[in-house]
Amino acid sequence: MKPRHAPDSRARRLRRLVDGLIALQALLAIRRYRRAVHASAGAQDPRDSRMHSAQTKPEVKPLKTFAWAWLGLLVLLAFTVGSAFVNLGAANTAINLLVSVVMMLLLMTLFMHESKARRLTQLASAAGLLWVVLMIGLSLADYLTRVHIPAPWS
């Protein structure tokens, strides 16, 4: 795999800069946009700059990482199950969910964002999560402030 900051990939890096988190960086993009315009107007075709080093296999993580991740997940599982038996009121569920989020981030950061389009895939996963939170959160805005009319049996 070619080094991330190969000196010849200048034009490509500039393009990636523009490509990135457009939605979030939109308001800050004005200066970068100008640079990108100059760069791609003057520079040669960016595809030419894709140099390939002589190698035969893609990079991989050491096996130790996998073992530690596995151990980490199982410890977190034990912790979350154990915590459920301590009466903490509403905090019980909060802790359970927090542990789940940590487990998720562990998997995601170590094994799930591997491609060259890493920032885009991160954006996609963040959007999915954020939208679920948005749906639940704004619905709860109704349920938590509503005047309750009890059901007949309660």
Binding site: H52, L63, A84, L97
Partner: protein, 226 residues
């Protein structure tokens, strides 16, 4: 585009798998991962509807949900969770092996992954069976009295929807992995060509992650004494 730069042997081999609408192997790979990730985001929202319904119903009936959750089998639940967490590691070990060209190791770990997935489903089948025995299948075979009977039924509905929809996903994931195990064994993948495997692993991880959230919400509430 006519690439005049000399390609490495790896790059040359990757080019052989290039589809006609793409110019570069990297471009094809990025498109595939991004596409898979967007699909995973939609999966999150598919489950999100069920999670949202669960949250709303639990906010309306906290006591009934706690009562119902206490009746789940925590031992089996934790066991299947551990199995699924392990499978997420075995599948990436298989992916690593394929990137290094170790076909045998990859086949072994992929079969292990599928076996763990099947194990999860079998354990879950036992749980479904005992719920059938205990008359806890909502709408079909449900018999319960007491102040929280309706709320318990709603919990069971959400439980069946979440685990059922999750099991369907896992069944798909297991079939995909079994198919890939066969193809890996036959030598269909290698250091220059493993995108399909990578996408399958992503999907497998998502199914695992969804379970990470289903598990505490169904099995762990109302456990603490007092």
């Amino acid at each position: 585009m006519n690439a005049t730069v000399a390609d490495s042997p790896l790059e040359e081999a990757r080019r052989a798998h290039l589809e006609e609408q793409f110019d570069e192997p990297d471009q094809q790979h990025s498109a595939a991962s991004l596409g898979m990730w967007i699909f995973l985001a939609t999966e999150m929202l598919f489950f999100g509807v069920l999670f949202a319904s669960y949250v709303v119903l639990r906010v309306l009936h906290p006591a009934g949900f706690a009562e119902a959750s206490r009746e789940t089998d925590l031992l089996l639940g934790s066991g299947e969770t551990a199995a699924l967490l392990t499978s997420s590691i075995t599948i990436v070990v298989a992916l690593r092996a394929i990137k290094l060209g170790q076909r045998g190791v990859a086949t072994l770990f992929l079969s292990l992954t599928a076996a763990l997935g099947i194990g999860f489903l079998v354990i879950h089948g036992f749980e479904y069976h005992s719920e059938w025995e205990e008359h806890l299948v909502p709408g079909v075979r449900f018999l319960k009295f007491g102040p929280h009977a309706h709320a318990v039924e709603l919990f069971e509905v959400m439980s069946y929807l979440l685990t059922g929809w999750h099991s369907i996903h896992l069944i798909i994931a297991v079939s995909v992995v079994l198919g890939l195990t066969w193809r890996v064994w036959r030598g269909a993948f290698g250091p220059d060509h493993f995108t399909t495997l990578e996408l399958a692993a992503l999907y497998w991880h998502l199914v695992d992650i969804i379970w990470m959230f289903i598990f505490p919400l169904l099995y762990l509430i109302g456990r603490a004494p007092g």
